[in-house]
Structure formats: structure tokens, C-alpha cells
């Protein structure tokens, strides 16, 4: 017994030693270097990590004296949790890429600092105005700029040209209005004798963030979901209810979309496997679809109704508080460096995100890419119709109220009218303190 105890102690000591040794391996920066921590929402190891690592290395080479410590923190949600925990513990990150919709949350937590005070030269001021206005809608409030667009997306419609040909439709023309979508969808939906569907007309995903896809419908219906100050929502406006009615009707009335909720993550897979002929998804899926679709496919803007449009989505750069002045200048330099036209073009081509500034599309690299793959420009062209993604104070809870309402309507537990009235009431209750 005594002997085992000694072995135990030895084992514990050994483990403690190994653990300590692993912990000590921290980055070796010289004392006078400015070291900035940069939270980025992806897990370690994937292709995106390598691109970011490459950018950081290039930046450090061009700017001796500044070290960027890129910390990969998982999903957007995980990264926000990690950043806010670190902030509340007194050790916030210096720079972070977080959802553009987290702006109000970050402002309410007093965690971030606006860019306006840093725009000292004329060049800086021009830079701040160089982004697509649609992306700035989610980056500015109260006359200040809190975020700088970096990896931004919109919703686009992908269609399977082979399926269109089989259904007797023009394979090069996507449905351009809500009515055309219903008509084409009816022809694209294949049923066997007993009524089982082998191919659906359309899938608009409704899990994870159904409100975002829903904005693709409300924007086309020419209604907005919230005001720019993020203090009021309009969930029960007639146009919103009508948009939801249309979404529900796709499944229940026209029967061209599967009933119930449709899983966001596997919708591209359904598209590849020809379980659906049309899908709505993020432009962030462009590279994925291009690599995996074994049939010719097209990319189109979302169909129009009263108007046309899509919400923007994706992540912005934020600067956190508690930086010393020279650190803040260095962080600002990094953000500017990451958003030059060339780099925005490079990043867009590598990932499928929409290059965030118009002049990025004029670079020779981007021109060549678009000539080669015209679908990539659809998202850009749609930007002039784009609106801000739903974002309010206490964003997570307000969004959840809407998501719950949408799913209740889609699964048939509430009528669209009832679902939206309830969601609006809940949102109004949550937003009361901010009026």
C-alpha cells in the first residue's frame, strides 16, 4: 500500500512537471515590441487559419516593432463569449473580428472604442469612407463608426441548371420574382405515384439564424425589421407578416419546399445530392458549392416582390478598450492594413466572402477572378439593394424572440400573424430599458 502511494505521488509530480513545461512555452517577443492580441473566429488548423497566419506574418515583416498574436477562438458565438469574459476579467483582446450584429452588445458592455477618434489624416478619413455603404449600416450608430467590415456576406440563390433543363425550364434563367419562384418551384418538385418527393423546388434554411434568411424575404417585401438605433423592432408590421406567410406557403400551400424547419448546415448537401433544385444560402458557401456541385449551377440575386434585397451578414473588426495610445495606433494600423483594396480582393477570392470595398473589385486580380467565375460578382451587384442584418440592443434575446416566432410559424404551431405579434411583444419588452 505504501509502495503504491509513492508511485501515485511520483505520477502526480511527473504530470505537474509536464503541464508546467507546456505552459511555459509562450511567445518570445522582445521587451519593446508592441504585442497585440487578435481574436479571430475560427478554430485552429483549417485553410482559413493559414491565410490569416500569412497576413499576420506579412504585416509583422512590414511593421517591425509590432507583434500580432492571432488567437483562434472557434465560432462567432464562442469568440464573443471568450472576448467578453476576458474583457470582464480585465484582460480584453486588443483587436477582434466579431459579428457585425454584436455592435450594440459590445457598446452596451462598454467594451469597444469607436474608430472616429483615430481618423486623424485625410487618408484615414477617405479610408473610413471606402467601404460599401450596405456594410456600414451594421457598423455605425449614433454618428460613430464602431466596426470596420472585414468578412462580410449576403444571401444569394443557387440553382441547379440540370434540374431546370429536366423540368423544361430555361437553365440560364433563375426565377426573378416571388411568383416566378412559385411557378418554377412547382415544375421542379418531383413526386412519385404515392406522393413521395424525390426533389424539392426550393429550400430556404430555417435553423441556426432563421431571422437572417427571413430578412431576404422581408427586404423584398420592402419592410425593415428594426431602426438604425437598434431600439425598436417592427416584427408585426403587415409586410413582415406577409413575408412570413409566403415562406410558410412555400411548404404548406404550394408544397415546393419541405415542411417544418430546414437545417442550415446540411442545405448545401441537399443541393449537391439534388434533393433540392434551388437553395438560399450565404455567399460564404460559394467556394464550397464550386468545389462540390457535380452539375452546372447558377448564382442569382434573391427574387423580388415589392422591391429587391438581401441582408448583409458576417464579421467586422472591433478595437477593444484599455489599450495604451501607441497600442491603439498599432491596432488601427493593422486594421487598415487588413482592409486595403488588394487584401480585400485576395481575401474575397480565397474565402468567398464579398470583398468589402468597391475599389477591391477594380484590382486586376479580382477582375480576372470575376471574368473566370462571373457568379462571384452577383453578391456585389446585390449589395446596392442590401440592408443591415437584424441588430438591436440586447441582440441575442431579441433575435431569439424572432427566431422562435419564425420556427413556430414554419412548424405550424402558430399562424404567421400570431407568431409575429408575440415576437414583437417579447422584443418590445426586452428593449424597454433602451427607449
Amino acid at each position: 500500500m505504501f509502495c503504491t502511494k509513492v508511485k501515485w505521488l511520483a505520477a502526480i509530480a511527473a504530470v505537474a512537471l509536464v503541464a508546467l513545461a507546456t505552459g511555459i512555452m509562450t511567445s518570445a517577443a522582445t521587451a519593446k515590441d508592441i504585442v497585440l492580441s487578435f481574436y479571430y473566429p475560427v478554430a485552429v488548423g483549417g485553410p482559413i487559419t493559414k491565410i490569416i497566419d500569412g497576413y499576420v506574418a506579412d504585416f509583422e515583416k512590414e511593421n517591425p516593432g509590432i507583434k500580432i498574436n492571432a488567437i483562434y477562438a472557434g465560432t462567432y458565438q464562442d469568440t464573443l463569449t471568450k472576448a467578453l469574459t476576458a474583457f470582464k476579467s480585465g484582460e480584453p483582446p486588443d483587436i477582434a473580428v466579431l459579428l457585425s450584429t454584436d455592435m450594440f452588445t459590445l457598446i452596451d458592455e462598454d467594451a469597444i472604442t469607436p474608430f472616429d477618434d483615430l481618423l486623424k489624416t485625410d487618408a484615414d478619413k477617405t479610408w473610413a469612407k471606402s467601404f460599401f455603404p450596405a456594410f456600414m449600416e451594421n457598423s455605425q450608430t449614433g454618428g460613430k463608426t464602431w466596426g470596420i467590415p472585414f468578412q462580410r456576406s449576403t444571401i444569394v440563390m443557387f440553382w441547379n441548371k440540370d434540374a431546370f433543363k429536366d423540368a423544361g425550364l430555361d437553365p440560364d434563367k433563375a426565377p426573378d420574382t416571388w411568383d416566378e419562384l412559385v411557378a418554377d418551384g412547382g415544375k421542379l418538385t418531383k413526386r412519385d405515384a404515392s406522393g413521395n418527393v424525390s426533389q424539392w423546388g426550393i429550400e430556404i434554411p430555417s435553423t441556426g439564424f432563421p431571422y437572417w434568411l427571413f430578412q431576404g424575404l422581408t427586404t423584398a417585401d420592402d419592410v425593415r425589421l428594426m431602426n438604425q438605433a437598434g431600439t425598436t423592432t417592427y416584427f408585426d408590421k403587415p409586410g413582415v407578416v406577409q413575408a412570413l406567410q409566403y415562406w410558410v406557403d412555400l411548404s404548406r400551400k404550394y408544397k415546393i419546399q419541405p415542411e417544418g424547419t430546414i437545417e442550415w448546415g446540411t442545405t448545401p448537401k441537399d443541393f449537391f445530392e439534388r434533393k433540392t433544385a434551388i437553395m438560399w444560402t450565404s455567399t460564404g458557401n460559394l467556394t464550397n458549392v464550386r468545389a462540390n456541385a457535380k452539375f452546372p449551377f447558377g448564382v442569382a440575386m434573391l427574387p423580388a416582390h415589392q422591391g429587391r434585397g438581401s441582408p448583409t451578414g458576417g464579421g467586422n473588426f472591433y478595437l477593444f478598450k484599455k489599450m495604451a495610445n501607441e497600442e491603439r495606433d498599432a491596432a488601427f494600423k493593422f486594421v487598415k492594413w487588413m482592409t486595403t483594396p488588394e487584401r480585400a480582393a485576395d481575401w474575397g477570392i480565397a474565402t468567398g466572402y464579398v470583398a468589402v470595398r468597391p475599389d477591391a473589385w477594380d484590382t486586376s486580380k479580382m477582375k480576372k477572378y470575376v471574368a473566370d467565375f462571373p457568379a462571384a460578382a452577383v453578391a456585389r451587384d446585390q449589395l446596392k439593394y442590401a440592408v443591415a442584418e437584424l441588430s438591436t440592443h440586447d441582440n441575442q434575446r431579441v433575435t431569439k424572440a424572432l427566431n422562435d416566432g419564425l420556427q413556430a410559424a414554419l412548424t405550424g404551431t402558430k399562424t404567421p400573424q400570431q407568431a409575429m405579434t408575440d415576437a414583437q411583444q417579447e422584443a418590445a419588452r426586452i428593449l424597454k430599458p433602451y427607449q
Binding site: V15, T26, I71, A73, G208, K269, E273
Partner: protein, 275 residues
Amino acid sequence: MSATEKVSRGSEALEIAGAWLLALIWILPLAYAVWAAIHPSEYSAHFAPDAPLTPQNFIKAWNAAPFAWYFLNTFILVTMILAAQLVLCTLAAYAFARFSFAGRDVAFILVLLQLMIMPDVLIVENYRTMTALGLVDTIPAIGLPYMASAFGIFLLRQTFKTVPRELDEAARVEGAGPLQVLLKVYVPLAKPVYIAYGLVSVSYHWNNFLWPLIITNSVSTRPLTVGLQIFASADQGIDWSVITAATLMTSAPLLLAFLLFQRQFVQSFMRAGIR
């Protein structure tokens, strides 16, 4: 055959059928994971018996992140936590079970209170502590908040209390000191409880995600669960084949250990009364 016998036969058959049903429901996700992992991704939702087998998914998953590092980190982490828990909980439980000292009951209530608190609530406070200790982004920082386990103390105290006083006294008559009594009487008698507790602790920390994610920043300290996150980037769509391969790969050591020591685990759970 009497009527009561018939009834008990019938209810036994029902129980067996129920057990089979539960077992089937339980094994389904695992069976699906195995299916999707060993077939090309076209077959992940398409069950054809003649689907070709492939190791590609595992290779892709392994290369997607530095999993060798993550395995090592997770292994160090669970070993360190379990070792510290066993020592701390044994000593604390012994004190609570067999010694009387001023404030014992208050201290024990405080320990029990800890059982009621979800560790996630304390994340900010724990992060602050780790910052003060200079331990952010180290493996000990992941483990430290869990080492003084209230559950372990409570469980062992209850077990030690069931040890007959006579054994304790007999050992003392033989001239054993308090620590010797603990090591020679209490610990051997509580062995099933130790095994059961060890299993719970190891599987909990093997699977723990949020706290390790928040407190670590680099590849050299992150455990498997955080590494698995790479497959969760839903923006680019989900490839079930690779996800299931990665999941099987990272849970394989636990599954294997369970299969190997199945009998001991089940027995110790029965004896320890945690079911």
C-alpha cells in the same frame, strides 16, 4: 405454472424488450457515426450495403487540426485533474467523515453548496483568478478550478461513513496512525467508488468545452474538444463524414477503455450506488 409466475414471466419479457429498445436507441447515433465515417461522403445519408469503404475521412479529419497535440494535452489534463482530485477529495472526505473539529458542519455545508453552482457561472471570476496567478493559456489553468471537487468529497465522505468503526478501531489498536488507517482501511474498502468516480471525472473533463476554450489561446495548451470546433464552421456547410470521423477518433480512447473495463465499471457503479 401459477398465475403469479405467468405475470412475472410476462413482465420480465416486457423488461427485456424495453432494455433492447433503449439499447437500440442509444447505439443508433454511434452506429450512424461509424457508417458515415467509413464511407465516402456521398453515402453519409444514403445507406447502400455495397457502399465502398474508405479511410479518407479519418485522414482528412486528422490533418485538419494538430490532433496529436490535442490528444497529448487532453491526456495530461485529465490525468492531472484526476490525480489531484483523488488526493484532495480523499483527505477532505476523511476529515469530514471521521474527525470532529470546530466548524466542520459549516465547512461541509459550504462544500455541498458548491454542488449547487454550475461551474459556467464562475467563468469570469475564475478567469480573473487565473490572470492573477499568471496561468492564462496553460493546462493547469484548465484543471485548477475542478480539483477540489465537491462531488468527490461528498461521495467519498458518504462511503467512508459506511465503513464499520470496528475496523478503524482494530487498526488503531494495532498501532496505526490516522494516515495509515486511511490508507489501509478506508481507501481499499472504497475502491469501487474510486473507480466509478474516476470514470465520471475523466469523461467529464475529456468532454469539457467552454472553460478550456476561454482560458486557452494556443495549440500547445488546447484539449481535443476545442480542436474539434474546426468542423463547426457552419458558414461553409457541414460534411458529416469528416465530422463523424473526427468525433469517433477523439472519443475512441474513452470508448475503448470502457469496452475493456466494462465489467469493472458496471460493478463499481452498482456498488457505489451512482447509476
